[in-house]
Amino acid sequence: MRRPARTNPRVDLVLAAACGLTALVCLVLPAPARNTAAAALRTTLVAPLASMQVKAELSRRAFLAHDAALRIVDSVTLRSQRLTGVEEENERLRKLLGLASALKWGFIPAEALQGRGLGDDFTVTLSAGKNAGVESLSPVVTAEGLVGMVERADDSFSLAIFWPHPDFRVSAVAADGSAFGIVTGHRAEGASKYFLELHSVPLRSPLKAGTLVVSSGLGGVYPRGIPIGVVVSEMKTTEGFAKSYLMRPMVSLPDISSVFILTPERARSGVENVWATGTNVDSVRKAIVAAGDSMRIRRDTIAKTPVKRDTLAKPSVKRDTLAKPPVKRDTAAKTPVKPDSSAKTPGKRMP
């Protein structure tokens, strides 16, 4: 290993000593003098470096603030999602209130306590039982339509089956009364099991996609007029004497939280106009909106049309016409017989 070739090591030592001494002097300077010297450096040589340091600090703070802001955004997003859920629940409750006012009597409100165990996808425990007046085979409905029926009623709770349940059957009819059939759950795997099937529809009564199917009232369990589903398409079956249709249910299972249980008396008295009332109310609302629009258009039209003063000032009746006598005096004064004619007869002598 070679030693470095140093020229004038004494110079190096002197330089180092001078630097060290100056540094020591800086250390023992009185505070005002130190501040003055430091300020002089800060405002000249160190200014760009200090500026870079400030920017670096700001960058770091911005980076950290970004994380904090991101957390806040996440929190707000989560809250807004919860708010959406609350709004949806409010909407469902409003619909239920509307259904309650339409039903007026003979229903028991209940909360659906859905199980999460395997095999109980299509059953639900309702928070109302015999003490509240619930009986077995009572229809369970929501504002959208039919949910299922009470299978067993305990004192405080009851067990209901949904429409996808294998035991679910309801006699149904097209809303226009054109075809009858039996609605059951769709026997399929995966998401398709949440569809319905309409069986035993006569060949002479084909149904179009979009046709609303309601309960027919036959069978004594479900009163007539509860919406069940909408026809999606015809199904290929081996039945030669009838048709089957795939239906989309009116009630979505995940949306079921609050339901109404119809009492047997209410079911017997019929609910045919209850869901139709909703339709009527909707029609009336649309009609009112349309009428409002029409009135607004007319008002705007009138406001835009200039009024002709001369036309208004012009009398509708002509005075001259009224003043004109219907009978001409000259004509009346004229005598039909001329006396002078008889008087002026020439004297012809009799022979």
Binding site: M1, R2, R3, P4, R6, T7, P9, V11, D12, L13, V14, L15, A16, C19, G20, T22, A23, L24, V25, C26, L27, V28, L29, A31, R34, N35, A37, A38, A39, L41, R42, L45, V46, L49, A50, M52, Q53, K55, A56, E57, S59, R60, F63
Partner: protein, 162 residues
């Protein structure tokens, strides 16, 4: 040292100084990398002890200007470290990565020790904790970063003269 190498050394020196005022505040580690010490050692092993001491003094004064309470302490520490590093470079700056790492580690630790003792701000347990815990950690981080810098600039600057 040729002119081009001198210019390259100056540029790298300035870059390291700039890194000290840009990257270090962003990292904001308790045991932070001291790019000023790396820059000083890089210069010190390539210049005479007097020039290294002068460079250390200048760097120390620059850093002290931002902390007026310890004005002069950094200059003193940098002067000693620069002079010592330049004087010891023949012993340490062979082509040995481990020795270079130890050299940078020792330089940073020595700087911290002189600086803390000179500024008289920390005393007692706090001073011991700083000297025996945080300073070695900072020296280790500086040594690691210094090795990366040395390996990076070696093709440009070449091996230090011995």
């Amino acid at each position: 040292m040729s002119f081009s190498r001198t210019v390259s050394l100056a540029v790298i020196f300035l870059l390291l100084v700039a890194l000290h005022y840009t990257l270090q505040p962003v990292l904001a580690w308790r045991a932070s990398i001291d790019f000023l010490v790396i820059a000083l050692l890089l210069v010190a092993v390539r210049t005479r002890p007097g020039a290294a001491a002068l460079a250390g003094f200048a760097l120390g004064l620059l850093s002290d200007s931002l902390t007026p309470e310890s004005f002069g302490a950094g200059a003193l520490a940098m002067t000693i470290v620069g002079f010592g590093a330049s004087w010891l470079k023949a012993a340490f700056f062979a082509d040995n990565i481990a020795l270079n790492g130890v050299f940078i580690f020792a330089g940073k630790w020595a700087f911290d020790t002189i600086f803390l003792l000179a500024e008289h701000r920390l005393q007692g347990t706090n001073l011991l904790v700083q000297l025996l815990l945080w300073s070695p950690l900072a020296a280790a981080a500086t040594a690691a970063a210094g090795l990366v810098v040395l390996l990076t600039v070696r093709p440009v600057l070449g091996a230090p003269r011995a």
